[in-house]
Symmetry: C2
Subunit: 196 residues, 2 copies
């Protein structure tokens, strides 16, 4: 799954080429946003062959995750977490989200991303473009409700709000509440706006 | 209700004194946080009599709102919006919050506060202290549920998340959706975590 690790071990160019590709990817994503960024332009920017880039880094979403050290795979979230009974999707998503944030190495990376996005409109737009392209549409198509995209974005906003309050700003008693207390509350809130 | 306006018209010291009081209040709130800030220290900082300060600016929450141009009165929210049938509190709160953000002059001020809080840990802590002291406890005591404070904070985090997504980051289609589409979704989410 991790194109970065694969590239590290097997690419002939080694670390230098990998570093050049990730730098070129960051520059292209920053300049054109997620949806308009092109793998061809990234290959050109790094001075590598486009076919090789695809071979070692996979699809654009994989390269994005490697370049920005983005710790969640939205495709896997759509396929594993949102799949299953729609009547309990809120609790599944809540459990997944809180579970990820409780892992120290993931939390550290997410905090860095949130802080960067909070202070840079460009980074916020880039993250938004990535999530909309790779998560919102996939998830919305699974919900059999009116205005699914609006609902999915409302749910994402609730998740971001919880993350800000519990992990970034650390409001008490929310910050110290055990995950078992937070997950059902967030789950009901998500369920309410996803399928309510 | 607005101690600032009252002070402007009737205080003997006029604008200079009012300005000195608000500056002293901002300094004291910034230095000691909302709950530990003292009206006596603010009066001393502004060189005015403590009894006069109370007379013209009212209670500490009024002075805070005047000093930070805070456009929502949490006490009124607790008494008017959270009062009434708990089974429909989510929709009432959602309607109130979205209604406030839709008013251009309120939105402008809220955006400025959110942006400042997002980039300054001190300001975020100050806002948090104010909301916890003046809103969370009052509202929590009205909800006949387990862990009311945790629920109220979860609800606040959802409101902040919505405000960030719809008004600050402006994710589409959420940013352009009419209030009538957003209020029921937010209402169900809030209801789910407040009383669900």
């Amino acid at each position: 799954m991790d194109g970065g690790t694969k590239a590290r071990g097997r690419r002939p160019g080694g670390e230098d080429t990998r570093g050049a590709v990730l730098a070129a990817a960051r520059a292209e994503f920053a300049a054109r946003g997620y949806q308009r960024a092109s793998m061809r332009a990234i290959a050109r920017g790094a001075g590598v062959d486009a076919a090789l880039l695809h071979h070692y880094f996979g699809t654009k979403d994989r390269l994005f995750m490697a370049a920005l050290e983005f710790p969640l795979d939205p495709r896997a979230v759509a396929e594993n977490v949102f799949a299953g009974d729609p009547a309990t999707v809120g609790e599944r998503v809540a459990g997944f989200v809180v579970g990820m944030w409780e892992r120290p190495e993931v939390r550290e990376r997410l905090l860095a991303l949130v802080r960067t996005a909070a202070t840079s409109e460009e980074v916020a737009a880039l993250m938004r473009g990535f999530m909309v392209a790779e998560l919102v549409g996939r998830v919305a198509s699974r919900l059999e409700v009116a205005e699914p995209e609006l609902r999915v974005e409302m749910a994402m906003s609730q998740i971001i709000g919880l993350a800000m309050a519990r992990y970034v700003i650390a409001v008490e008693p929310l910050a110290s509440a055990p995950p078992e207390a937070v997950v059902p509350l967030l789950g009901r809130a998500l369920q309410g706006c996803l399928t309510g």
